[in-house]
């Protein structure tokens, strides 16, 4: 069930350089699962397209969704200036979300791919290791992951915390094993994680990203290349917003 409604901002905080957190009161929280996203519309009408932002935490009891996002342009800058009590139009939850699998899991997030892994880490019932990649020691959400996961491994581009290198370097260095790996981050990272998963015989789910317009599967703006012929257009293009954003790593071309 997708909800289009005016959501009230309960909290809005800066977590790190250009990284912001927003807590929204919305009935969309009742239908959301980890790995889904919501479309947030700008109050400035000249920015017509919704911003698709992944869900970081879901609280069904309080009826809230938390999103953590990077300010990359004027639209997200507008969101970062919103205060508790302000409202935004939203549509969601959108997309398929991560399937919750049994067994030992690794959740991997790189940069702004870290936030959607938090709710997943909280909801997985098996043993969870979180592997988080950052540019610097500005480790946003790290405390939340320390609470949610059995083990947290860090990788930083500048080497200031944890492994100096990528999340894949960190997995190799720690010789991490699992039945299933979930990942969200830039495409080269997803490719590296998928290869690592393959090397240890783990199933791998990746959350893909693409420029979107509608967010509901109608406009075909946000496709990614699929290995098999897709069900919608019968070519090799899956819709990131509707068929994804989560795909098995073996389903898509990384």
């Amino acid at each position: 069930m997708k909800v289009k409604e005016t959501a009230q901002i309960v909290a809005s905080d800066k977590l790190a350089e250009n990284i912001y957190s927003m807590l929204l009161a919305t009935t969309a929280s009742q239908y959301a699962v980890p790995g889904q996203f919501i479309n947030i519309y700008c109050n400035d009408g000249s920015k017509i397209l919704p911003r698709p932002i992944s869900i970081c935490e879901i609280d069904k009891e309080l009826g809230t969704l938390r999103v953590v996002y990077r300010v990359v342009g004027k639209g997200t800058a507008e969101f970062s200036n919103l205060k508790p009590g302000d409202t935004v139009e939203i549509l969601g939850p959108l997309g398929n979300g991560f399937p919750l699998e049994e067994g030992k899991a690794i959740v991997v997030g790189g940069g702004i791919g870290v936030p959607p892994m938090l709710e997943l880490a909280k909801e997985l019932t098996g043993d969870v290791t979180a592997v988080l990649g950052y540019r610097t020691d500005d480790l946003f959400l790290a405390d939340n992951f320390i609470d949610a996961a059995a083990e947290v491994v860090f990788a930083t581009d500048d080497g200031s915390v944890g492994v100096h290198g990528t999340v894949v370097d960190a997995m190799k260095e720690n010789d991490l094993r699992a039945d299933v790996i979930y990942a969200c981050g830039p495409k080269p990272m997803l490719k590296g994680v998928a290869e690592y998963a393959d090397s240890i015989g783990a199933k791998c789910y990746v959350s893909m990203e693409e420029r979107m317009a509608c967010g509901v599967g109608a406009c075909l703006g946000c496709v990614c290349q699929s290995k098999e012929v897709d069900n919608h257009s019968h070519v090799n293009n899956k819709r990131v917003c509707k068929d994804g954003p989560v795909f098995l790593s073996t389903e898509v071309v990384l």
């Binding site: 397209l49 257009s233 090799n236």
Partner: protein, 302 residues
């Protein structure tokens, strides 16, 4: 109060449709909108075989608008008939316009022939104006001779009335409208998107993989109104007006300029219920202005 409009003998319960390519075949937006309330569902472009479309990124935002370069990704007419038309069987109150695309005259004809006996298809919209494919599409829509020829050829094969969808990327759109009329078009629809470009100054590269894309959204609306007005005064066939229609005022403006029906496109992306919101606003306007028949306002601004 009567919201009905008639185009080429096909009666629509109201003049509000959605614009091809923004709404699929209605399946996705059917979650937000009762499709039975629309005057028509206008499907995304359908070709003879599946088309993969362009590489990504296909979407860019611009001020009060957007660029798209989807490149007519579609499943081909066979899947379309078996799935999309079957789905639309559930919405008998709305008319169905199928948008037809092709790389060549033969490909258009193949689709038109395949659709000839599909009873759910009320009308065909022939896309001779897509700016995002290299062959076909706009290549047919920028030369009046080609417009007239393809119109005549399609008309010969089509069992349903045909609407020729015109491109704004021409020096004088009236010339194209007249060419479509001369070729036997039952109606014309306009405008398709305006070819645009966006460059990322940090990356010093094009935002769209296709380099150019079709611009749509509120920013193009005044251009569309002007072109509908010009065409309405140049031809005697009905016009389906579109281009940046986002509010009921925009839709009424189109009709005052000469459109018999109005399509809502990009607005669906920022308001999933835009079509029915616009319809409700138009009905309120009719009540307030004591307009008995919506057709009474078509083209009255001279």
């Amino acid at each position: 109060m009567n919201t009905k409009v008639t185009i080429a003998g096909v009666e629509f319960q109201n003049p509000i449709m959605e614009a091809s390519g923004t709404f699929g075949s209605g399946m996705e937006y059917g979650e937000f909108v009762d499709l039975n309330r629309l005057g028509a569902v206008v499907t995304k472009g359908v070709a003879n075989v599946p088309w993969p479309g362009n590489p990504t990124p296909r979407i860019a935002e611009v001020s009060s608008g957007m660029l798209n370069a989807i490149g007519l990704q579609n499943p081909g007419v066979e899947v379309f008939c078996n799935r999309d038309l079957k789905f639309l069987e559930n919405y008998k109150d709305t008319r169905v316009l199928v948008n037809v695309c092709g790389h060549s005259a033969e490909e258009y004809i193949e689709v038109v022939d395949r659709l000839a006996d599909e009873s759910r298809v009320d009308m065909l919209e022939i896309n001779i104006s897509c700016p995002n494919v290299k062959e076909g599409g706009i290549a047919f829509g920028q030369d009046p001779k080609a417009v007239e020829e393809i119109t005549r050829l399609v008309k010969k094969h089509a069992k349903q009335p045909i609407v020729m969808k015109l491109s704004p990327n021409v020096t004088d759109i009236k010339v194209m409208a007249k060419a479509a009329e001369a070729g036997g078009a039952d109606a014309i629809s306009l405008i398709n998107t305006l070819t645009g470009m966006k460059i990322d100054v940090e990356r010093q590269n094009f935002v769209l993989a296709n380099k150019t894309g079709g611009m749509s959204g509120p920013a193009v609306h005044p251009i569309a109104v002007r072109m509908v007005y010009e065409c309405a005064n140049a031809v005697n066939i009905p016009i389906i007006g579109m281009g940046g229609v986002s509010t009921w005022e925009d839709a009424v403006e189109m009709m005052l300029a000469g459109a018999t029906a109005v399509s809502v496109g990009t607005a669906n992306f920022f308001n999933p219920t835009a079509t029915v919101d616009i319809l409700d606003g138009m009905i309120d306007y009719m009540k307030r202005k004591k307009i008995d028949n919506i057709t009474d306002i078509v083209g009255i601004v001279k």
